[in-house]
């Protein structure tokens, strides 16, 4: 075995040039080569107490798979990851590793932590490119389980149960499986072919995916039981977009981030001559500071915007988006208007001609400057308006990216399913809801959170469903 690589810095992730990528939808990060992956793996000290694993919501055996990379056994490394994760190629791209596994890495105490996420991505891509072996379908157990929603929690739950021999059907409301992975996260961060590949792998394990079925409308949870499903997992996500309730939000050119991203990602409005329209060009303001806001801003830029602003009411320090995403956005030329908050969206109105086609379109946004006051209950300093500090910015499109709430469709059609004051489904530590044999997880429970925490919840529920149906 070669000696450990004691470099304090990790191998940088190769990326497309910012000037180039700002005008295309191809993936930004290009991935490690075999040589870089092995070199980076050599930085892992294979700690006996494995602090990294404690930081992973699905408890991937991290040092074990990295050992296999050191040996050049990439498929073996993949098999180790896939014991714990159903979506390695996805997690290697969109997990906030810097606050999870990598934040616990011993190498991070002095220098940079091992690039665990980058290695995970490398291994998953290697498998997807070179592995031709079909997954083995396990012996059927003779139990049917229904999964509502094909996002990260649903796919994880489905995968874990299918591997145990359950007959699993995933019901998806949209026409393509993947949930937020296909409608929310843009192509340049997570190519849709990768999501399709992960879904295909699950189908080879025997998972059935039924698109165009809205549970709560086409079928209800109770009808699923009538159809012979013995347990149901609800992973319907946090679909309902929030608005600010300020004047002008109904003007033409104001989108929720969900709508803007869905038009571009799911409906492919970014392609040439799309069938689904989207407003492009001009100046764009994205209100909010999360990962979704970064995705919307960078999508608007790629669609041909002249200028794109992130308008956020706190400062850079409080910005909730991943550091890497913020850096990428800055490199591409997104302008950050921090400590400022919109109070009104302004629209065109020709007083002499009510039929003027420009009437009702966005022309600008009135904002107020903010300063940081006392910390709130979560410890984040509360932004306070500075009196008489109003100013206007000229924009043609405004994208509201200020969070989402759980979708109420299932709650309203499932008797006895209890939710909290924010609309999140109430579950116990096993993911069991107030209804017998009905489990839930992901954003439908927590409100908007991360892909990996949703996967963790899907995993927990799969384990509990297996125990329940094995009784």
């Amino acid at each position: 075995m070669a000696k450990a690589n004691m470099s304090l810095t990790r191998n940088p992730m190769p990326t497309q040039d910012p000037q180039v990528r700002a005008h295309n939808f191809s993936e930004v990060a290009l991935g490690y080569t075999k040589e870089t992956a092995i070199d980076e793996a050599m930085r892992c000290l294979n700690c006996k107490n494995m602090p990294c694993v404690s930081g992973c919501p699905v408890k991937i055996h991290i040092p074990e798979f990295i050992e296999k990379i050191k040996e050049g056994e990439f498929e073996a490394a993949y098999q180790i990851i896939s014991q714990s994760s159903s979506l390695p190629a996805v997690c290697g791209r969109v997990c906030p590793q810097e606050t999870q596994c990598e934040s616990k890495c011993i190498r991070g105490v002095k220098g940079e932590s091992v690039g665990i996420g980058r290695l995970e991505r490398f291994v998953a891509d290697w498998h997807n490119t070179f592995c031709t072996e079909e997954p083995v379908r396990p012996e059927p157990k003779g139990h049917k389980v229904a999964i509502v929603g094909s996002g990260p929690s649903g796919l994880t739950c489905a995968g874990d149960l299918a591997k145990k021999g359950y007959e699993v059907t995933v019901f998806e409301a949209l026409h393509t499986a993947g949930g937020v992975l296909v409608y929310g996260i843009p192509e340049f961060r997570l190519p849709k072919a990768i999501v399709a590949k992960e879904v295909e792998t699950l189908e080879k394990l025997g998972v059935k995916v039924e698109t165009n079925v809205v549970i709560g409308k086409t079928l209800t949870v109770d009808e699923l039981f009538d159809m012979g499903y013995e347990a149901v997992f609800i992973g319907s996500g946090a679909g309902l977009p929030n608005f600010m309730n300020i004047p002008g939000e109904s003007l033409k050119g104001v989108y929720s981030a969900n709508e803007f991203l869905t038009r571009s990602n799911l409906m492919k409005a970014y392609l040439e001559q799309p069938e689904t329209p989207i407003m492009k060009g001009g100046n764009v303001a994205v209100v909010g500071g999360g990962n979704v806001a970064m995705d919307a801003a960078r999508t608007a830029l790629r669609l041909g915007a002249d200028k794109v602003y992130i308008v956020y009411r706190r400062s850079m320090e409080e910005l909730p988006a991943r550091r890497e995403e913020v850096e990428h956005a800055e490199e591409e030329g997104i302008e950050f208007r921090l400590l400022c908050n919109p109070v009104e969206i302004l629209g065109y109105n020709n007083p002499d001609d009510p039929r003027d086609p420009k009437n009702g379109f966005v022309t600008g946004m009135r904002c107020v400057k903010m300063e940081l006051g006392e910390p709130d209950a979560k410890g984040r300093r509360r932004p306070v308006e500075i009196p008489n500090s109003e100013f206007e910015i000229a924009v043609d499109t405004v994208i509201m990216s200020i969070g989402t709430s759980p979708n109420p469709l299932i709650k309203s059609t499932t008797e006895g399913l209890e939710v909290n004051s924010r609309g999140g489904i109430i579950v116990n530590e096993d993911g069991l809801t107030s209804r017998n044999a009905v489990y839930a997880g992901g954003d439908a429970v927590t409100g908007a959170a991360t892909v990996i925490s949703a996967m963790g919840a899907g995993k927990t529920a799969a384990k509990a469903i297996d125990e329940y149906l094995s009784k």
Partner: protein
């Protein structure tokens, strides 16, 4: 994929399809809608359900050719398939307890009004139907309305059939003559529904309107279908896909809805022209 089991051309711009979709047929109630995609690159468009046949597992849709997608859909033939068909979405029209109802339909909106009139007739309500069209050539569903209406008034803008004038004329007449409707249910162009509400207002008759804004997912996820209601002097945002499509006509901000409906006007016009060129059809 969803099979087209029957196709009927109702008039030069309006087509009726029966689509095989047993799960939707089993559930759909008057007032609810579906979302479809014609093919793999297609956009999602909402269309209100115009009827169902539970035994055959089919759903009837009636649509007007207005943009690229409806143009493409109109070229699909019996036995062919469309890519996606999902529903039923939205809340069904509330009909319980209604004894005497006036249905006011305009243009292709009559296709949505018809199953509501049928249902009311079935539950024993007295149904007055006022249906309006631009001219005789665009008239649809006359026999169907006659079969389920106690009174039927047909209006054309140019007087080429039925009575000359728009739908608010007979409505006003009846209300002035002292007709007491439990509810007026109106479905058609926004401008027509706005004037139906204005006509009914002095008489205080409740009006239900059916909104048909731009949508993508139809499950509350995108918020593109949002509209503003004025409820007791307060502005409230609602999503037509999950809170509607029916709303109290007195509360709806029609001007805003009309403005939002024109958001992609240029795009749609080009898309329609492009689709027409594709089918080598003259662009009118």
């Amino acid at each position: 994929m969803y099979k087209i089991v029957e196709k009927k051309v109702l008039n030069p711009t309006v087509v009726q399809l029966q689509i095989e979709a047993p799960l939707v047929a089993n559930k759909a109630k008057p007032g609810q809608f579906i979302i479809l995609r014609v093919d793999e690159s297609g956009e999602r468009i909402p269309l209100t359900v115009a009827g169902t046949n539970k035994e055959k597992g089919t759903v009837k849709i009636i649509f007007q050719i207005v943009g690229g997608t409806t143009e493409k859909l109109s070229h699909k033939e019996e036995g062919e398939y469309i890519q996606d068909f999902v529903g039923p979405l939205g809340v069904a029209t509330h009909l319980d307890g209604l004894k005497k109802v006036c249905i006011v339909g305009g243009g292709v909106g009559c296709a949505i009004a018809m199953p509501i009139a049928e249902k009311l007739h079935e539950i024993g309500a007295e149904v007055t139907s006022i249906i309006g069209f631009r001219n005789k050539d665009l008239l649809i569903l006359e026999d169907e309305f006659r079969a389920c209406s106690n009174t039927l008034r047909i209006m054309t803008d140019d007087g080429s059939y039925g009575e000359h004038g728009n739908v608010t004329v007979p409505l006003k007449e009846m209300l002035e003559a002292g007709e007491q409707f439990d509810m007026i249910i109106t479905i058609g162009p926004l401008i027509m529904m706005k004037f139906v509400v204005a006509t009914a207002k002095p008489f205080g008759t409740p009006v239900t309107v059916s909104m048909n804004p731009i949508m993508i997912d139809g499950t509350g996820m995108c918020g593109g279908c949002r509209l503003t209601l004025n409820v007791d002097g307060k502005k409230v945002t609602k999503f037509a896909c999950v809170d509607g499509p029916d709303f109290n006509g007195y509360e709806v901000d029609f001007d805003e809805a009309m403005s939002r409906g024109r958001m992609y006007f240029d795009f749609e016009r080009h898309a329609h022209d492009a689709a027409c060129n594709l089918f080598k059809k003259e662009v009118k």
